[in-house]
C-alpha cells in the first residue's frame, strides 16, 4: 500500500488528488467569472475587481496543484525566480499603464490636433 502510494507520486510531488482538486477548482473559478461577466451581475468597477480576483485565485490554484510550486524543498530557487518574475511583471504592466495614462491625461485634444496637423504637413 505504501509502495503504491510512493509510486503514484511523480518527482515533483504530484498526486491524482492534486490534479483533480486543481482541475475542479479551475473549472469552478472559470464558470463563476463567465457567469458574472455575461450576466453583468455587478457594477463595472466591482465586477472588474472580482474578475481580477478570480483570475488571481485560479493562477495560484494552478501554480500549486499543476506546477507544484509549493512542494519544493530548500533552497527554493524556483520560488525565488518566480517572485523575481512577478516583480518584473508588476513594474512592466503597471508602470506602462501609469506612464501611458499620464501622457494621455496631459495631452489635450487641441494638442493632439495640432500634432496630427504638423505630422501631415511634413
Amino acid at each position: 500500500m505504501i509502495r503504491k502510494n510512493t509510486q503514484d507520486r511523480t518527482r515533483s510531488g504530484a498526486t491524482l488528488r492534486s490534479y483533480v482538486t486543481g482541475f475542479a477548482l479551475s473549472i469552478y473559478f472559470t464558470l463563476t467569472a463567465y457567469l458574472l461577466a455575461v450576466r453583468h451581475a455587478l457594477f463595472n468597477r466591482t465586477l472588474v475587481l472580482v474578475l481580477a480576483g478570480l483570475a488571481l485565485v485560479q493562477f495560484v490554484v494552478q501554480l500549486l496543484f499543476f506546477l507544484h510550486l509549493g512542494t519544493e524543498t530548500k533552497p527554493r530557487w524556483k520560488l525565488m525566480v518566480f517572485l523575481f518574475m512577478i516583480m518584473v511583471v508588476m513594474v512592466l504592466v503597471f508602470g506602462s499603464l501609469w506612464i501611458m495614462s499620464n501622457l494621455n491625461y496631459r495631452m489635450t485634444p487641441d494638442q493632439i490636433n495640432s500634432y496630427m496637423n504638423s505630422q501631415s504637413a511634413l
Binding site: 507520486r9 472559470t30 465586477l47 483570475a55 493562477f59 525566480v81 518574475m85 512592466l92
Partner: protein
C-alpha cells in the same frame, strides 16, 4: 510497462529531482516567457480602447465560444497531468493515451482559435483595423504560436515514447513538456479574463 529494480528506480528519481539543474533552467525560461507575455498584456491594456472608429471587444467577442475554448484548454492541462502520473507508474500505454488526449484537446483549441481569427479577418477586422485589434492579434496570436509549438513537441515525444522505452531521460523530457503545457494554460487564464471577460463587459 518497464520493470526497473527498486534501487535503480530511486537513483533515477534522485537524478531528476525537481530542483535539478535542467528543471531550474527550464523554469527560468518559462518565467522569462511570462515577462514576454506581460509586455504584450501591457500593450493590450494601453491600446484596447483605441478602436479607431472600428469595433470594440464587446462587438466582436462571443463569450460562450471563448468559454468552450477555455474549458478545452483546461481539460488538456489536466490530461497532461494524468500523463505524468502514468509516467511515474511506468505505464506506457496510459502515458500515450493521456498525451494523445492532450494533443487532441490542444489541437481542437488551436482550430477554434484559427477559426475565430479567420472570421475576424474575413469581416475586415484584421490587425490592420485598429490599435486594439493589432494588440489583440499579437497577444492571442503569440499564445496560439506557443500552443502550436507545444503540439509539435507532444507529437514528437509521443512518437519517441511509442518507439523506445521510458527511461529517466524520457521522463525528464515529459516533465519539461508538462511544465510548458501547464504554463500555457496559466497564460490563458489572463487572456480569458483580461481580453475576453473584460471585453464582454466593455471596460
Amino acid at each position: 510497462m518497464i520493470n526497473v529494480p527498486a534501487t535503480q528506480n530511486t537513483e533515477v528519481i534522485k537524478a531528476y529531482e525537481p530542483d535539478s539543474k535542467t528543471m531550474l533552467g527550464f523554469w527560468v525560461y518559462i518565467m522569462t516567457d511570462c515577462v514576454l507575455f506581460a509586455s504584450l498584456f501591457a500593450v493590450y491594456a494601453v491600446l484596447h480602447k483605441n478602436t479607431f472608429g472600428g469595433p470594440s471587444g464587446r462587438d466582436l467577442f462571443s463569450p460562450s465560444y471563448v468559454l468552450v475554448e477555455t474549458l478545452i484548454l483546461l481539460t488538456s492541462s489536466f490530461t497532461c497531468g494524468l500523463a505524468m502520473l502514468a509516467a511515474a507508474r511506468g505505464a506506457r500505454k496510459s502515458v500515450l493515451t493521456w498525451f494523445g488526449a492532450t494533443f487532441l484537446l490542444g489541437f481542437s483549441f488551436l482550430v477554434m482559435e484559427v477559426t475565430e481569427f479567420s472570421k475576424l479577418v474575413r469581416d475586415g477586422d484584421s490587425w490592420h483595423r485598429s490599435g486594439f485589434l493589432s494588440s489583440y492579434f499579437t497577444l492571442v496570436g503569440t499564445h496560439g504560436l506557443h500552443i502550436t509549438i507545444g503540439l509539435l513537441w507532444i507529437a514528437v515525444l509521443m512518437t519517441k515514447i511509442s518507439r523506445g522505452n521510458m527511461d529517466a531521460n524520457m521522463i525528464r523530457k515529459m516533465t519539461l513538456l508538462s511544465l510548458f503545457w501547464h504554463f500555457l494554460d496559466i497564460i490563458w487564464i489572463f487572456i480569458f479574463t483580461i481580453v475576453y471577460m473584460l471585453g464582454v463587459i466593455g471596460v
